[in-house]
Symmetry: C2
Subunit: 207 residues, 2 copies
DNA sequence: GTCTATAGCGAGATAGAC
DNA sequence: GTCTATCTCGCTATAGAC
């Protein structure tokens, strides 16, 4: 029973820390705020996670894994065409960003802030995974066969991310510039999914 | 003479604050670090700018103006076609990001952190400027005439920004994934300029 | 495991000599 | 205008009772 209780507390802290760190960043987050958000005494944070740094590290690792890890099955799916993969990636990230609008910003911000060593240290071999992915192989084969435009697959992949993630990062600015209500924003994002799919695929296939 | 001296000191502080705030963000920046960067005694920061908040406000306002203001002449140029404007925008931002890779990230981060009121308070009427720009008018006319695809001009504009700015925001991640040296990165960015131009224009013109 | 009280320190801000 | 010394406060972290 004690074990369960402690797990519950620990879990509440983690969930609160997840929200606060992503919203405020490491430097801007306050241990007191995390404690309040969790409805738990501040000293419990230290009891379970020793200090701010190690709590942050846990959250950051979880965040970056969610952000990058979720695409791996998608890009290595043997059953889908490259075109379906592109649509799948765009749909996945639109959906992801709708639920966690702060996450990619948080991840990239902290990578920029903390030394690169820290980032290298948690060795997520995303690199080779992406460059050797079935998605990239498919694209290269189609290019060799002259069926699609001859392009750098990494540029294609970055374009997908750019078009879907950036709008969420710039959301406050876009809402203001476009004088959008929350419903306007929702439909803008729905439109964006289609827009991006067509934008990218159209460019790739045109000879 | 005194006036000149003080201006010089003030200027050095501003330049140092510009760099430090953009790199570390408001919460992460230290007054001591700004002073060191400027080669100037810490108390001088308070002498000239009263406190951290007001120094930050100055830098933020300058940053957001640089970021948004520089495009206004471009999108309202009466002498260029919509196609030239797109190429111009892409070229401008690639060049801009090369010299100030931290700026857009900084601006958008602080907009997210600080309350929206603060952002509203510095009323830069970018909104109506963009939506009523000559660029948007040109696009709408071409659409009405059936010469280009019928699209939301704001989606087009956001796509331009996304494809050019996001890669710089995600630079450390991209470099790592692509195992890039600094020269690799440079050529990736050069390639990106062409890629983005073709990507966008190709989609717009295809009937 | 959970709480209260408090130590310790870093950072922003000020006082005051020059 | 510029410097040194110092105040003050907020935040992380710990001690210790229960």
């Amino acid at each position: 029973m004690e074990g369960l209780e402690s797990n519950k507390t620990e879990q509440q802290i983690l969930e609160a820390a997840y929200r606060v760190f992503q919203k405020k960043g490491k430097a801007g987050a306050r241990m007191q705020e995390i404690a309040d958000e969790a409805g738990i005494n501040k000293s419990m944070l230290h009891y379970y996670f020793r200090n701010k740094d190690s709590l942050f590290k846990k959250i950051f690792l979880q965040s970056i894994t969610e952000f990058l890890g979720s695409v791996i099955p998608l890009i290595n799916d043997q059953e889908t065409t490259w075109e379906e993969k592109i649509k799948g990636l765009i749909g996945h990230y639109i959906n992801f960003m709708r639920h966690r609008p702060d996450l990619p910003f948080f991840v990239m911000n902290e990578i920029n802030q903390n030394s690169v060593e820290f980032f290298n240290h948690l060795n997520l071999n995303i690199g080779s995974t992406l460059m050797n992915s079935y998605f990239f192989i498919q694209l290269q084969e189609e290019m060799k066969a002259g069926k699609i435009r001859n392009l750098n697959p990494l540029q294609i992949f970055i374009s997908i991310l750019s078009n879907v993630i950036f709008p969420f990062i710039a959301a406050p600015m876009i809402k203001r510039v476009g004088k959008m209500s929350d419903e306007d924003w929702d439909s803008f994002i729905s439109q964006r999914e289609l827009f991006t799919s067509e934008l990218i695929i159209n460019y790739i296939v045109k000879i």
